[in-house]
Every structure is written in C-alpha cells, then in structure tokens.
C-alpha cells in the first residue's frame, strides 16, 4: 500500500509534466508556424500513431486482464478489430482522412452532416448518439481512476465521489486549457496531441513492465508460465464463435467511428502519409500492449487471493509483491489511459456540441444580425468550454448512478455498439453516391432507438425497478417488446442480440430509404465530392468569375469566425488565385464554396453553410455547382466521353464545312469573275457599236468614207457579240449537261478534215499557211461528229487568231498512240508561257495574250467540256519549238484498233 500523499504528489507531478509538454508543444508549433516551418517532431508519424492509441483506454489497460481472467481469449477481439482495419481497410481510413482535409471536417457528426447535404438534423442526431455513447465511457474512466486509487492506497473508506469529482474537474481543466485555444479544427491541438502521445508511451511501458514482472517475478519464465494456463481459461471453443466475430466487428467499427478516434485519426492528421506509418505501427502497438495481458491474468489468478477483482490484477499483482514503485508506475499508466481518452473525447464532443447544437441555436437567435455583429469566435470558444465541463459533469453523474454495477468491459461494449450505429452512414456515405439524407436519418434514428432500448436501458436495470420490469416482461408488459428477446427472437447474448437488431434495422432502412428518396442538389454535390474525393480537387478548376455574393460581407463573416489575421490571409490568397493584387477577391461560387469549407473547419459544415447562405441569399445550389456534380458523376464521365467523340465529329464536320465553304467561295469567286468577264466581253463590242452609231447619228461631221468604215466596225462588232453570246450559251448548256450529245462511232479523221476545210477558207484570207503532216488512217472514236469538228475548229481558230508571226504557219498531224487517237495542232506564234498553260482552258482565260484577236476566250473551255463527254482531252504540250502545240486525245474504238 502506498501513502495517499505520496501518490497524490506523484500524480500531480505527472499532470504538471503533461501540462508542460502540451504547453511547450503548443508554443513550439505556434512559433514554427509563424516562421513558416513545419512543426518537426510534433508532425511525425510516430506522434500521430501514438495519438491513435487513445483507443487503449483504462478499460483496455485494466479491463483486458479482467476480461482474460473471466472470459479467456475474448479480449483479443478488441485488438483484432482495429488491427484488421489498419491493415486491411486502410483505404477507407485514407479516404476519410482525405475527405477530412479537403472538406475541413471537424468531427464524425460533421462528416455525416456534410456528406448528406450539410444537414443540421443529421449533425444533431450524430452528436446526441456520440454523447450518449461516450458518457458511459467517460464514467468508466472516472471509475477506473477512482478504483485504482482506492486499490493502490488501500483506503476503502475514502470518499469515492470526491476522488472521481476531482479527477473529472482536473481533466476538464486540462481539456479546456489545451483543447480550446483556437476554434479552427485544422489549426490542430498540437499540445494535446503531444501530451497524449507521451501518455501512450507511459501506458505501454507500464503494461509491459507488469507483464515482464508477472512472467519473471511470479514464475520461472514463459514456459513455466504457460504450463499453468488451464484449458478452461482459454475457452478455445469460443474462439471465432459468433460473439467473437461480433466483438471483432464492434472493435473495428469503434476505431473508425468513435468520436475521439475520428478526432485523432482524421481531424488531427497533418499529413496523409502518416497513415501509411500508422497502418503497421499502430497494429504493432496493439500487439505490444496486448501480449502481456494473458500472463498477467494467469499470474493474478494463480497468486492473488480468490475473489480479488481481476480488473485490478495489473495493479494488485505488483502490490502483492510489495513493488511500490512498479505499482505507482502502473497507476500512472492507467491514469494516462483514462485521461488521454477523456481529454480527446471531450474535445471531439465539445466541437460537435458547439458546432451542431449551440451554433445553430445562436444562428437562429441572432438571425437579424447577419453574424456580422458580435464575436462569433468568443461564442464558439465559450460554448466549447462549457460543453467540456458539461460532458465531464455528465460522465461524473453517470458514474455516480451506475457505480460499480457492472464489469468495466461491458460498459465499454455498450458504448461501442452505440457508436457503431454511425457506421452505415459513414461507409455508405463515402462509398455510395446514391445514399441520401433521409436514408441516413432513418437508419441512424432506428439503430439508435433500438440500441438505447435493447442495450443502454437494460444497463440500468439494477438501479431502477421500472427498467428491470421492462427487461423481464417487455415494455407495457408486451412480451414481444422484451429488450433482450425482441419479437421473441432469442439470441443468448444481449450484446449480439442488440447489435443484430439495431444494425440490421439501421442498414436496411439506410439502403431502402436512400433508394426511395431523391437527394437534393447539395446532397448530390457533396455526395459526388465525398465519394470521388480522390478524383476531384475542389477549387482547382478554372472558373469564370461571377460574383454571387458581396465580398465585403463574406470578409466580415470570415473575420468574425476565423479571426482578423487568418481571414485577411485567406482572402489575400483567394484574390491572388484570381490574379487580383489589391482588394477583395470576386466572390464567385468557388470562393463561396472555399469560404464555406474554411468556416466549416471552425463551426461545422451545416452551420457554415447556413451562415454563408444568409449572405449569398439562399441555401440553394448554383447551376455551376450542379455542373460540378455533373462533371464528377461516373455517368457523366461516360457522357463526357461521348461529348469528346461528338466534339471530334463536330470538328471534322466543321472541317468539311470549312472545305465546302472554301469550295463554294472559290465557286462564287469564279462565278463573280465569270460574270465580270462576261460583262466585259459583252460591253466591249457594245461600246464600239454605241459610240460609232452616235457618231453616225450626228451625220454632219462624218464623211461618207468614214461613215462606211464606221458601219463596217459596227457590223463586225455585232457579229462578234452574237458569236460570243452563242458560245456563252453553248458552254453553259454543256456545263449543265443539258445538251444530249449523240455518241456514236465516228471517223475522227473525217471530222478533222471537215475542220481543216473550214479553217483554210479563213486562213487564206489571213495569209496563214496550213501544213498537214503525217495523218492516221481512218480512226473510229465514240463521239458526236459535229461537236468533234467544233473542237478541231476551235483549236485551229485559236492558232490562227493568236498567231502574230509575220509568216504564220499551222502544222497539223494525227497518229495512233497505244489505244489512243491523237491530233497535234502546232503554230509558230508567240507560244503560251508556262504560267498560262492552265489558264488558257478557263473561261475567258486568254492568258496574257490580249491582242485584238476577235476571240471570245471560250473556245478552249468549250472544247475541253465537249471532249470530256467523249472520254477524251485537250492538252497544251510543251515542246522545244517556238509557238504553242495542242493535242487532242480520244480513245480508239476496239474494233478499229484491230
């Protein structure tokens, strides 16, 4: 036995050390953050992992041995569940951590509320569940501290209530001092985390020390130790039975859903990578802290007097051996387990209470002030402090009510089962986009009510006769409503029974109601952002700036909640992101969303949403938000692929259109050019005709000779005009394909002769000499005789007209070349420059040869058009001789070839 004074002194010294560690850590974090440094050892994965070990509370510290002594290996399940989660369900934790960071999640209640459309109702329900489930747990810690104090000091007559009260008050003070220094969740409680990390080490080493003492102090080592283990103790038949599976599941759920676990794992996480370390280091911690449970239990059962409380073996074993120092160390270890759990749980719960219960009420009360008056920060901090005090007070009251009624472990399991009701909402919420607010609400409500009725209520049966009545005969005397045999389904174990009913109802309702209800736009948005948190990076998408709220009001709101300096820094950063160097940013929807997230980090998503909505003028989701949802949904991703494809198609269509347009434009230009040319070709002879006819009308000034000459010109120009009109019409008809050419086998040589006869009449007048070279034999081609003659005539005419040589000469030859009939017509004129070799075939394309030719410039285009109908062609052939040489080529008929 130890003197209370000494123990009290040791205890207070330890608390002072914790205060010092927390204080130094906070100061260091502050100083480093101000200098822009990382916070060194405070942000190490080791500290993170140790902080997660608040999972191991006084219940684990003392109770695990008790459980082992009473129920054999069952205690292993409590360590097995979290180990499985950290090793196997690591991805779920990572997703929660990511969501927590991206959306500035402040608590498990905030997570669920935020996921389901920032629903205040959900936040309140989860908060209530958390309080209800945590209160017995806090009571448990108070009980263990009091009990261990009694045991170690050996003073049975000590005032239990006073001990528990002072323990509670001390924890409340510590939590208030280090847990409510600031209101922004992502500014994290470095001091608290550092202190609980230290406590994690103390409790681990304490338990290991007792374990080693149990093995080597009471027996001759491990072998001797295990030889004393009776088979009844281990109860191998229960291993991996129903209760085992259920307990493992409960423990796994607890490590995810317990408010304090969520606080250290998600909210206090500074770096996602730390989770990777924790995924093996935390299971290792659990292994180390559990490995000596059995030896201690075995040693306790063997060496301590019968009837000793197995829950206190950890302490009574060293005491029995008169190891005062070790006992003190163990007491400090148990004290550490209790305090670290209580502190973190109180912080987590107070955040929930102030954000989800106090703030909404305050918002309602001060609605008219638009939150721009009064210090919201102070209200938040004070409500958190009050909440912490209230939570510990509640724990104390519960402890007094149920004092020593049950084994420590069973209270812990009731709490686990209570918080497990949150699991469907959390897992469904982050994995299933279709989950809705109403689904979560109905599932949670049903699960919570059934849990309270089947598990929580019966835990008071010893204290209240009315409750005992209900447990034995059912509510209102209806046997079907018996809390531990609901609907007459009897499952022996009340815990398994309650968990079966509550979680089944919870999950079933969650799924069915979700399927039956439609999420509102905000729910869909949050659902998409949560489920696809690894795909989306909110705020990264460039957006067009549309102011949706007065930036000044938002700024004032931010100042009220975040404080003046952080608000200024935040707005400066946002403005920089928008490329604005001076003044406030444009408050578009992304800025509003960002601000909501930042404020959510202080007051929770639902409250932040309500506050910002009052400024932006409504809680509705903007079209752009909906577009964001659309962007994220898998269906839309597919749609967007289709869009990409469609857009590619559109692009190719656009290209085709551009090409077609260019073609049309070319055609249109050609048409304009053609009309312009036609106009010119028609107006030119008309000009001479008009001018000379006007001169002639003024008969006095014109001599007879002159009159004769002018009339001749008028006559020539009239003929020219007529010929031109004929050719224009002819070409137009040919081009439109309206003229039916009578294709029949004709002798091309005969057509050539006919053309030569016709042109030699002209040529004689113009002194042009026509030389006929080698000629082919009769050459049958499929053609129209008249049109073929016209082609030859056109080309011969050109050779005559454009020939400026003093002794003009035309050479005509014809031959067979392969299965083609080729006529070659050359002249000794100026020739056609290479650059004009194609233009000569276009309409009025006389090239640069614009002498007075009397040619319309349509002869070659007409010839080409005609020959096209005969599958033939006319080409300009390059030769080394001066002048131009045209060749007409036509396919010979087979019969003629042979």
């Amino acid at each position: 036995m130890l003197a209370p004074n000494i123990l009290l002194f040791v205890c207070l010294s330890y608390v002072a050390l914790l205060f010092l560690v927390a204080f130094v850590a906070d100061r260091q974090a502050e100083a480093r953050a101000n200098r822009g440094h990382r916070i060194g050892w405070l942000q190490s994965p080791l500290v993170y992992t140790l902080s997660i070990s608040i999972y191991c509370t006084a219940w684990t510290f003392y109770g695990a041995v008790g459980s082992a002594a009473r129920s054999g290996l069952e205690f292993v399940t409590i360590y097995l569940g979290p180990t499985l989660v950290f090793i196997g369900w690591w991805w779920l934790l990572r997703k929660l951590v990511r969501i927590g960071r991206v959306h500035r999640i402040t608590s498990i209640a905030d997570l669920i509320s935020s996921r389901f459309g920032k629903s205040p109702t959900l936040a309140v329900i989860v908060t209530l569940i958390a309080i209800t489930a945590t209160t017995p747990y806090i009571a448990l810690q108070l009980q263990s501290v009091t009990l261990s104090y009694q045991v170690i000091t050996g003073s049975d007559g000590l005032n239990e209530a006073a001990t528990a009260f002072w323990a509670a008050a001390g924890m409340a003070l510590f939590t208030i001092l280090f847990g409510t220094r600031n209101v922004t969740a992502n500014e994290r409680h470095h001091g608290v985390v550092a202190a609980i990390a230290l406590e994690a080490l103390v409790k681990l080493f304490a338990l290991i020390a007792v374990g080693l003492f149990a093995i080597y102090g009471f027996s001759e080592g491990l072998g001797d130790m295990f030889s004393r283990v009776s088979p009844e103790l281990l109860r191998p038949d229960e291993v991996f039975g129903t209760r085992w599976v259920v307990l493992t599941f409960l423990a796994a759920t607890a490590i995810i859903c317990l408010p304090r676990q969520f606080q250290v794992t998600v909210v206090e996480n500074v770096d996602e990578k730390h989770l990777a370390t924790a995924s093996w280091l935390f299971p290792l911690y659990l292994f180390l802290i559990s490995i000596f449970v059995l030896p201690i239990a075995v040693a306790g059962l063997a060496h301590l007097p019968a009837g000793s409380n197995p829950d206190m073996f950890v302490l009574t074993l060293p005491l029995a051996a008169d190891q005062g120092a070790l006992a003190t160390f163990v007491f400090i270890g148990g004290f550490s387990s209790a305090t670290s759990m209580v502190i973190v749980a109180a912080i987590a719960l107070s955040t929930m209470i102030s954000n989800h219960i106090v703030m909404p009420v305050a918002l309602r009360v001060t609605r008219s002030h638009h939150y721009t008056s009064g210090d919201v920060r102070r209200l938040l901090l004070n409500s958190r402090r009050a909440s912490i005090a209230a939570i510990l007070a509640l724990g104390f009251v519960y402890y007094r009510l149920t004092d020593g009624s049950d084994g420590l472990a069973s209270i812990g399991l009731i709490a686990f089962a209570g918080i497990a009701q949150v699991l469907p909402g959390v897992v469904g919420g982050v994995m299933w986009r279709g989950a809705t607010r109403y689904g979560a609400l109905s599932g949670l409500a049903a699960g919570f009510v059934l849990w309270a009725y089947m598990l929580l209520l019966p835990s008071f049966r010893a204290e209240f006769a009315g409750i005992e009545q209900i447990v034995t005969s059912g509510a209102f005397g209806i046997a079907l409503l018996k809390p531990q045999a609901f609907l007459s389904v009897s499952i022996g174990d009340p815990l398994v029974h309650a968990l079966f009913w509550s979680l089944s109802a919870n999950t079933t309702l969650f799924v069915i109601v979700s399927l039956l209800t439609r999420p509102n736009p905000l729910e869909r948005l949050q659902g998409a952002l949560f489920v696809d948190v690894f795909r989306t990076r909110p705020g990264d998408q460039p957006q067009i700036l549309h102011p949706t709220a007065p930036a000044e009001d938002l700024f004032v709101l931010a100042q009220r909640i975040l404080g003046a300096e952080p608000a200024r820094l935040l707005f400066e950063e946002i403005a920089r992101g928008q490329g604005i160097t001076r003044g406030l940013p444009v408050a578009d929807h992304t800025v509003v969303a960002r601000l909501e997230r930042e404020l959510g980090g202080s007051v929770g998503a639902a409250s932040a949403h309500a506050m910002v909505a009052q400024i932006t003028g409504g809680g509705t989701v903007s079209l752009t938000d909906l577009m964001e949802i659309a962007d994220e949904t898998a269906e839309i991703l597919e749609y967007s692929q289709q869009l990409t494809q469609k857009s590619a198609e559109l692009e190719s269509t656009a290209l085709q259109l551009r090409e077609a347009n260019a073609k049309l434009k070319t055609l249109s230009d050609q048409k304009d050019e053609f009309l312009s040319q036609v106009s010119h070709e028609l107006r030119t002879p008309m000009t001479s005709i008009r001018s000379f006819s006007e001169i002639l009308l003024d008969a006095d000034s014109v001599s007879d000779d002159q009159a004769q000459r002018f009339l001749t010109i008028i006559n020539q120009e009239c003929l020219r005009l007529t010929a031109l009109l004929d050719e224009i019409l002819d070409l137009s008809v040919l081009e439109r394909g309206e003229v039916a050419l009578a294709l029949e086998p004709v002798d091309a040589e005969a057509a050539l002769d006919r053309a030569l006869d016709s042109v030699s009449g002209m040529a004689v007048r113009g002194d042009v000499r026509i030389r006929i070279g080698a000629r082919a034999a009769r050459s049958d081609v499929l053609a129209d005789f008249g049109r073929l003659t016209q082609v030859f005539l056109n080309i011969l005419n050109n050779s005559v007209k454009y020939n400026t040589h003093p002794e003009p000469e035309i050479t005509v030859t014809s031959r067979w070349q392969g299965d083609q009939y080729v006529v070659s017509i050359g002249d000794n004129g100026p020739g056609i420059p290479a650059e004009d070799s194609e233009t000569v075939f276009s309409k009025f394309g006389r090239g640069s040869r614009r002498q007075e030719t009397g040619s319309s410039g349509l002869g070659l285009p007409i010839s080409r058009e005609i020959l096209r109908r005969f599958d033939g062609e006319v080409v300009l052939v390059a030769t080394d001789r001066p002048g131009a040489q045209f060749e007409v080529r036509l396919p010979l008929l087979r019969a003629a070839v042979e």
Binding site: H680, R683, S691, E717, R850
Partner: protein, 122 residues
C-alpha cells in the same frame, strides 16, 4: 495651245471612236494599248487628261493609276477611268485609288467629251 489627251485602251475600235470624238472637240490625241506604254508616255510628257481603261493586258488600269498618283509630278493629273466590268467594285476601287472621273462602258459620246472638257477647264 492645244490641250492633249492620252487614251489608254486595248480595244482598237474604241480607241478609234474616242480619237475621232476628241479630235473633233479640238484636242490633240495620243493613244497607247497597254499600261507599261501609258506610264512611259505620262512620265516623259504628261498630257492634260488621261482616259484610262481598267481592263488592260499586263499592267492594268488600276496599277497605272496608282503609279500616276504616287509620282509627285502627276499627283493631280486628271484621269478618267473606263470600265466594262462589274461596275460597283471597279467604281469603288477607282475612287479609292484616286480617279478623277469614272465612266462605264458603253459610254455616251457627249458624256465623255463633256467630262474631258470640264477637267481641262478646271
């Protein structure tokens, strides 16, 4: 002193009619058939008025007018442009470049002679 008119036109018959009309009105006439020759003639000895067809082989009427307007000596030389092509386009072009007058073909003899007289009296 007899005023001189330079006719730049590649249609032989039109040159003949214009020469007849303007001689009858008392002007001395010089005629060339293409733009290059016209520029040379104007550069050597600027006439009082130029009648300039748009549609010339090689250097067309617009090119000739541009060259005339860019030379300081002939910046204000009266130039009457003739065209047989699409008139709105040619008229706009001629105005942009700085033609003094613009006459469409087929022209009225009296209009051409009056225009030349007016430009010379100015």
């Amino acid at each position: 002193m007899t005023r001189r008119v330079l006719i730049v036109e590649d249609e032989k018959n039109i040159v003949e009619s214009l020469t007849f009309l303007l001689k009858r009105a008392g002007f001395a006439i010089d005629a060339v058939m293409d733009g290059t020759a016209a520029l040379q003639r104007i550069g050597d000895d600027p006439p009082d008025v130029v009648i300039l067809d748009v549609n010339l082989p090689g250097t067309d009427g617009f090119d000739v007018l541009r060259a005339v307007r860019s030379a300081p000596a002939t910046r204000d030389l009266p130039v009457v442009m003739l065209t047989a092509r699409m008139q709105q386009q040619d008229r706009r072009m001629a105005e942009d470049i700085g033609a003094t007058e613009f006459i469409a073909k087929p022209f009225s003899n009296a209009h051409v002679v009056d225009t030349v007289k007016r430009l010379i009296d100015r």
